[in-house]
């Protein structure tokens, strides 16, 4: 990860804002896709986020979470998966029939496994 060099020299280097696709980790995506294949169907309409109770009050965004998984952006995903209350309202609106709630569960599971080096 290209991080800050600290402040030893009196200046800092900004973290790169690039989605470095070649450096990112798509093990989580592969895990989620295998266990919840409907995940691939998302076309990012945002219906889930619009109806999401958690998202009204906390910075939780299921549509964006799907993109994080697809791009292998693990760091922002870590927080995202903890914010869902698994109420399933998103399931009712999804026009592509994605099993949204299970995507969150499986993604959370994948992150745990990733941290235990089990992916």
């Amino acid at each position: 990860m290209k991080g800050s060099t600290g402040n030893r020299f009196g200046f800092t280097v900004n973290r790169s804002r690039l989605i470095d696709y070649d450096a990112s980790d798509r093990l989580v995506r592969d895990y989620v896709t295998l266990r919840e294949p409907s995940f691939r169907l998302c076309f990012a309409c945002g219906g889930c986020t619009a109806t999401c109770t958690a998202g009204q009050h906390a910075p939780f965004n299921l549509r964006r979470m799907n993109t994080f998984i697809r791009r292998g952006e693990i760091e922002p995903l870590r927080e995202e998966v903890t914010r869902c209350m698994l109420c399933g309202k998103c399931l009712l609106v999804c026009p592509r029939g994605v099993n949204t709630r299970n995507v969150v569960s499986v993604a959370a599971e994948a992150i745990k496994k990733l941290d235990r080096n089990e992916l």
Binding site: F43, C45, G46, G47, A50, Q56, N61
Partner: protein, 343 residues
């Protein structure tokens, strides 16, 4: 070239059926044109103006009326085609009034039905007075009055794209093609007729596929200040002031958005018509997974049915605009004449 007069049945007197009947009659064939409504014209009867140039729909209606003003055409209204059956070389055709006739060939042009917006209950059509369909907005344009149910002038109107299209929940995975540009057209018309009214289009993708559609989209922003928010509306409700409140994600901002509106217009999509479905089922015509008629080949034979002598024209095969419908009807006539002269 054979000059022998043949008898062709055209099922459906909308845009496709009228064009097909007119073209066949012009070539000297005898045509029986069957229309289930009391008057021909199909959905065009209801429309005020057409995309992308907002020309009066009446101009196309008049063209089509002239087209079928031909002594070779016999028009029957208030009756529908119920069944088509091959009988030797001929087609045996049964009508809803119990009568039957024989034809050398037939063109199915039974068109589409607009999606019944009540099936998307979360949008509140049939529940809230100020939730209307795109077709009902055309009625308002025709009447020259855009008002809320209690007669007020709206100050903010929202247009929801893809109502009944691209939606697994209502078993329609297909795109209806024309709703995006219809929304842009109607948004511009609202802005022209009510300059103080804000207009918002809620879209998932802007599919400006036809000539001058993208230009209209650009004009809507540049000249008419139409607002576009990328997100699928998840629900509509009413607040204590009886204004509509919608929930949507502004996906480009990445945050949920809530907005009050005076009127919500649902851009209803296209489905295979009920009359066409009845005919297809009774006659064992194949239907695709989108429930429109399945054609012989979707690249080079999309006017062909699976029964010899039976041809398809227009939106009974897939959603299409008026331009494409007229072209498709003419192509069906070419196929029909080829069949009649070479069989």
């Amino acid at each position: 070239m054979s000059t022998v007069t043949k008898h062709v049945l055209v099922a459906g007197g909308g845009v496709a059926g009228m064009e097909a009947a007119g073209a066949l009659a012009e070539l000297g064939h005898r045509v029986t044109l069957i229309e289930k409504d009391q008057k021909p014209g199909g959905h065009l009867k209801q429309w005020h103006a057409l995309f992308p140039d907002r020309r009066p729909a009446d101009e196309v209606r008049k063209y089509l009326s002239r087209r079928i003003d031909n002594r070779n055409i016999k028009l029957f209204t208030g009756v529908s085609v119920e069944k088509v059956k091959k009988q030797g070389h001929d087609l045996h055709i049964e009508l809803s009034d119990g009568s039957a006739l024989t034809a050398d060939a037939a063109i199915i042009a039974t068109g589409f039905d607009l999606f019944d917006a009540r099936r998307k209950e979360e949008y509140g059509y049939g529940i809230y007075d100020n939730v209307i369909t795109s077709a009902e907005l055309e009625d308002m344009f025709n009447a020259g009055r855009i008002t809320t149910a209690d007669g007020r002038k709206p100050s903010r109107i929202g247009l929801v794209h893809c109502v009944g299209s691209r939606d697994e929940k209502v078993n329609n995975n297909h795109c209806s093609k024309v709703c995006c540009v219809t929304a842009v057209k109607q948004a511009v018309e609202i802005r022209q007729k009510l300059p103080s009214c804000e207009v918002f289009c809620f879209y998932m993708d802007m599919r400006m596929y036809g000539p001058y559609y993208e230009e209209l989209y650009r004009e809507s922003q540049e000249v008419h200040n139409v607002n576009y928010i990328r997100g699928k509306v998840s629900e509509a409700s009413a607040n204590i002031n009886n204004r509509l409140v919608i929930k949507v994600e502004d996906t480009l901002a990445g945050r949920p958005l809530r907005m009050e509106l005076d009127m919500l217009v649902l851009m209803v999509g296209m489905e295979m018509s009920q009359a066409g479905t009845r005919l297809a089922e009774a006659s064992a015509l194949g239907m695709g997974i989108n429930r429109f008629l399945e054609t012989g080949d979707h690249h080079y034979g999309n006017n062909l049915g699976h029964v010899k002598g039976l041809f398809y024209a227009g939106t009974c095969t897939a959603p299409m605009n008026i331009t494409d419908t007229i072209s498709h009807a003419r192509a069906a006539v070419t196929e029909t004449v080829r069949y009649l002269t070479t069989r």
